[in-house]
């Protein structure tokens, strides 16, 4: 018995080790290929003029100034709608809802489905509801609102996690001191739940600026500088899509735009990592 263990296992162990390491190597190499390719091809086109100038000749020349502005506006609309609703819903679900409540259960289930809805379906919905029924047309507003629906489940789930990570002692002590639940929430729980909130915010922003399919039929393609929220504005991801699919000879600028988009996402990610550490250290503790 000991003999067979000694003889058989090392081979399968060795095989497994080789398999696991080669899987990890494959993933790493693929990642480096993609990022290296975009970095290599994009870096030479990036300049201050590229970031600020308007696109010319359907985007083959010129820069992405108005597109960055549109992207920022869409993101702004999205966050200013989804943050209050998301945090409110998360507070209700984690602090004021019993585990067996029907309303809470239904809301959770519906958010589970919402987080799985394909982005193109959000696009269809946004087009039918915001653009057509509410009459917002192809505009930054309808694009931002569509994205708000999309990031809501991400925001709510992360914020809820943040609240769940707050020790139960805080609530009990606050109740023992006779604080109202509103006061407890604003002065104790909310500050303590900031890390979760921040994670949600970052994930939401990441998802929102990465989004393409939901925006094609809601915020549209127009690459001029938007004058108001009712104007159509082209998001950065749509710009990359349009340059690579519909504009021949647009690859150089598409590379540069892709690099800008990836760099923005990486910056947001590392900022959140830093902020997470910072906030976690500063957490309220019983001194």
């Amino acid at each position: 018995m000991a003999e067979s263990v000694g003889r058989n296992h090392p081979r399968s162990e060795w095989l497994a080790r080789a398999m696991v390491w080669s899987a990890a190597a494959l993933v790493t190499v693929t990642f480096c290929c993609i990022l290296g390719n975009i970095l290599w091809q994009g870096l030479s086109h990036i300049s201050w003029t590229f970031l600020t100038a308007p696109p010319r000749n359907a985007g083959r020349e010129g820069g992405i100034g108005p597109i960055l502005v549109s992207t920022g506006l869409i993101l702004g609309v999205c966050l200013s709608v989804s943050l209050p609703i998301g945090i409110g819903a998360a507070v209700l679900l984690s602090e004021f809802t019993a585990d067996d409540s029907v309303f809470g259960g239904l809301t959770r289930r519906s958010l589970d489905v919402l987080s799985g809805v394909p982005s193109i379906v959000f696009g269809l919905f946004g087009n039918a509801f915001f653009s057509k029924t509410l009459g917002l047309g192809f505009s930054i507003l309808s694009g931002g609102l569509t994205l708000a629906c999309m990031v809501l489940p991400i925001l709510i789930r992360a914020t809820e996690e943040g609240f769940r990570a707050v020790p139960q002692d805080y609530r009990l002590s606050a109740a023992a001191l006779g604080l109202s639940r509103t006061t407890t929430l604003f002065h104790l729980l909310l500050p303590a739940a900031v890390p979760g909130l921040l994670v949600g915010l970052v994930l939401g922003v990441g998802r929102a600026i990465a989004e393409t399919a939901a925006l094609i039929f809601t915020s549209g393609y127009v690459d001029r500088m938007p004058a108001s929220l009712m104007d159509s504005g082209r998001a950065l991801s749509i710009h990359i899509f349009d340059l690579s699919m519909n504009v021949s000879g647009g690859d150089a600028n598409a590379y540069a735009s892709a690099l800008v988009l990836v760099a923005a996402l990486l910056m947001i990610n590392s900022a959140s990592d830093w902020a997470m550490d910072h906030w976690l250290q500063r957490r309220i503790v019983f001194a």
């Binding site: 399968s12 696991v20 390491w21 289930r109 489905v113 269809l124 919905f125 509801f129 892709a258 988009l261």
Partner: protein, 288 residues
Amino acid sequence: MSCILFPFNRDRIFIWVLRGFAAIAGAIVVLIVVFLLLEALPALRHVGILRFFTDPSWHPAEGFYNLTPMLWGTLFVMTGSVLIATPLGILSAVFCHFYAPRDVARLYRRLIGLLAGIPSVVYGFWGLVALVPFIGAIRPPGPSLLAGIVILTIMILPTIALMADASLANVPQQYLRGAAALGLPRWATIRGIVFPAAKSGLFTGVILETGRAIGETMAILMVCGNVVQTPHGLFDPMRTLTSNIALEMAYALGDHRAALFVSGLLLMAMIVALVIAAEWISRGRIYG
């Protein structure tokens, strides 16, 4: 006295405000389904459900609305990518937990996190300029089912890898200590103890990645060639349900537009089925 009563009143108002927010959040799914149905209704009435599967072809201008080639396209590309990404993702998580030195594991986790953050349009663009010409050199035309599967695999890999990572982390430490005490070698521990213990998390990960694979639009649209046909080989170009919507929404009118909303409904139905499956798995969990 009023000091004690007042907060309760304020609490009550505040809770109703929160309830309103939560109700809005919960109602979005209902709104989506209602609007998809409303917009799809003309097609369901004029064309009927059956003809979406029995019509000779997809030629909306001539009144033919056969969705089956796109449905097969979605299923093929989904199956292919899930079959490749699942083992890769799970092995990635195993690598992080049991094989890699601590610093390598930390770096690798960051890398997976970065992969998860890269937008689909960037993956699609890379596929278009790097992968498609490469496949085209092996066997023309290049834009193909294979390109779609490769891109989608890269895209859904982080989903399953992160999920598997989390569920491996949840395996109780005493299981591992018990295995070590029995003198089990590493892979035997992983296969015999860790995988069964993390089963429900791993299955949930597979379901999540499947959902992502079904819903992916832009990357697939950019590398698959978008010819409406049921692909017969890995190198055939094809079109998925999602890219069909993205391609034709811009100019679709009347029944054509409604037919696209019908495919939206179809996608929605698939996602709901997956969410129910995930719920079913997490309820039937046996371990930890």
